[in-house]
Symmetry: none
Subunit: 221 residues, 4 copies
């Protein structure tokens, strides 16, 4: 649930020259360079020139394949998707959520991680935003069993919406660490997991919402 894995998971780029040809080599080198530059210098040092230089590739070769930095990040995110990821299964909803939260916490807590950077990028590049959305959709889909298993165990109502539970559990971490930028509180993952689990048990995420939302409130100014 936590974060995309790093670019170093790419299939060793420098070796295979024949398979896929020169193009594949360039792509690999560039994406690797993007990953390195991101963790070293952060996002706003990530210029096309710097990437090209680091990759040992010419500027125009980058522009040819990727429109801009956003495209680079989107591609990086896609290529870095960890298809082997799976949710925890501890036998308890709260403990499962806690495990997920620990992943998220680890990805966000220590300074400008790859995740942080990708989120920041998603504000500026539609490509990156879309790619990040896909990543999260995927993670939510894979994590759904955490909730459906709890429903099967009778921990939560059968109609409980998995996604809502997952979002409720993880959102406070993103909010505190990315937006509010409070100092990482080690108790935070558990508190958020417990709260989400408690709400789920109380039926807060059971589908047939009893009362419809009455509508918008006056602008908050």
């Amino acid at each position: 649930m936590g974060s995309p894995s790093s670019a170093s998971d790419l299939p060793e780029p420098a070796v295979r020259r024949r398979t896929g040809g020169r193009g594949a080599r360039v792509r690999g080198q560039v994406l690797a360079a993007v990953g390195e530059l991101l963790v070293e210098d952060g996002f706003d040092r990530l210029t096309v020139d710097a990437v090209a230089a680091r990759a040992g590739v010419h500027r125009t070769s980058v522009y040819r394949r990727w429109r801009d930095v956003g495209g680079l990040l989107a591609d990086l995110l896609d290529s870095a998707a960890d298809d082997s990821w799976g949710p925890p299964d501890t036998g308890s909803l709260e403990e499962d959520l806690l495990a997920l939260n620990h992943e998220v916490f680890a990805a966000l807590a220590d300074g400008p991680s790859l995740t942080t950077v990708l989120i920041e990028a998603s504000f500026r590049f539609d490509d990156a935003a879309r790619a990040l959305g896909h990543f999260w959709d995927d993670r939510h889909a894979r994590s759904a069993p955490v909730v459906t298993r709890a429903a099967a165990r009778g921990e939560v109502p059968a109609a409980t919406d998995p996604r809502a539970v997952l979002v409720t559990a993880t959102a406070p971490l993103y909010h505190e660490l990315l937006l509010l930028r409070t100092a990482p509180d080690p108790a935070l993952p558990r508190r958020a997991a417990r709260a989400a689990a408690a709400a789920a048990r109380a039926g807060a995420f059971a589908d047939p919402a009893p009362g419809p939302d009455p509508g918008p409130a006056p602008e908050g100014g």
Copy 2:
């Protein structure tokens, strides 16, 4: 709880020339220009040149007072602080949280609002990040009575942490609308408010945390 009010709340800038002198006039014009440009063109059109031109002020005059765009936004945020804001008081924790969430929802739902833009800016400028942190701290502090009153009414345990409740209630909105960028779901404010209230009633935010956090999970990526 939702968002800082717009720059147009500034005391009519063009009129008062003597009080505060030329400097105050310039400051007012510039901050007004920042606000206007933000809502019109969004954040990445917000260049110092554009601000200066719109404000009818010279570039260097902007640089003299504000280091960069981040400084401008921080100042805007400070000057736009709405000191008259107060939390709702409906007599019920869930309804109070719902009212707060409606404010947040309104500020985030319709495209690139001032709030969105300030959050985006907070990723790139420390000044803006600090100012936004202060804004939220202030809002959380002012909203605390929502929880303490509920505790006084016996709705939730006496030791319930107000901030944790507030964050739990609002975080899903920020997460869905800003990070996941899902289409605004009108049921979201109620669902999040209900979940936070349920968790609070269940004692998930009561101070003496029963079980300590067992430690970190394996790196997630």
Copy 3:
């Protein structure tokens, strides 16, 4: 001997596009613009922006090739070198020197000429100073026959140093017209030529200097 020729001697820039490519066209346009601006507005109106605008070229394209205005002037001077120039040959040292002096006089007498401006620039930009030095070295070398021929004719001693004669003949013109800024005196070229010729005849520039310089005088301020 007088002055570098104007930039309009450049090989017609707008026509040849393929030969030398775009780069050559830009260079020609820019140098032409420099020349025009110099004679029209003088040296301190010669800003990079103005040059670029006049040349119909972008600012950054100027900075790419030429570090600064000094580089522009140096390049102008180089490109404007008149390879066809040759010294007069009247059969008399004094008349030859007079002809040279008339060239110098013409270049300096009427207000801010290209020469004036290049000299002024040489005070502020090393590039321009170097280029001007090369120009003068070249002119002195080409003018040497004026003196060697006189020596061959027996007008002056065989060991006469050509450069010293040329400098002695022309220096008073530069001094009066550029430094002292006295009103141009039409008799000046002849007087300086006659003096230099007389001194040369008297053996003042013959190599084996009889008495060595006794050393420095007290500081003059």
Copy 4:
């Protein structure tokens, strides 16, 4: 003949406060600052701000008295005029001219002296150009006896123009050291002095010019 004396000749500025009042103090401090900055940083570091800061005076106080940097230099030059200066008197025209040349040489030979700087300034500021012109006029007038005494001794024709002799003697130094920027040649002062003396003896500067100048030569550039 050589150069204006340095600003440190000013009547000790920090001491006398009453004579002339605050204004005189400001003027003294500012001119002293100009002199110091010139020798330390050269001419193009000589900004009004820097002068004001060094003088411990406010920017506007400088602008009030002196229009610009040129005015400052002109004033400095005036105030630094050394009224006690007098020409040498060795009993021989060539030796007198040599002594004068040594002064000039010393002022020009070692890098960017005050003299160099003032000449450079004279290209950019009319004030400075005028002041420098006055300075040189004064020096030429004072040096005239060098020639008139030689005429009285019968060394040169009675009608010899003193100024022309002086210019012929010194001009090569300015030309070589300031314009051509050749490395300082210790033999130069003597060579120029000897040439000027020889020409004078030959009657090249005797007033009734035998042949009038035939007119301008074709443009040289």
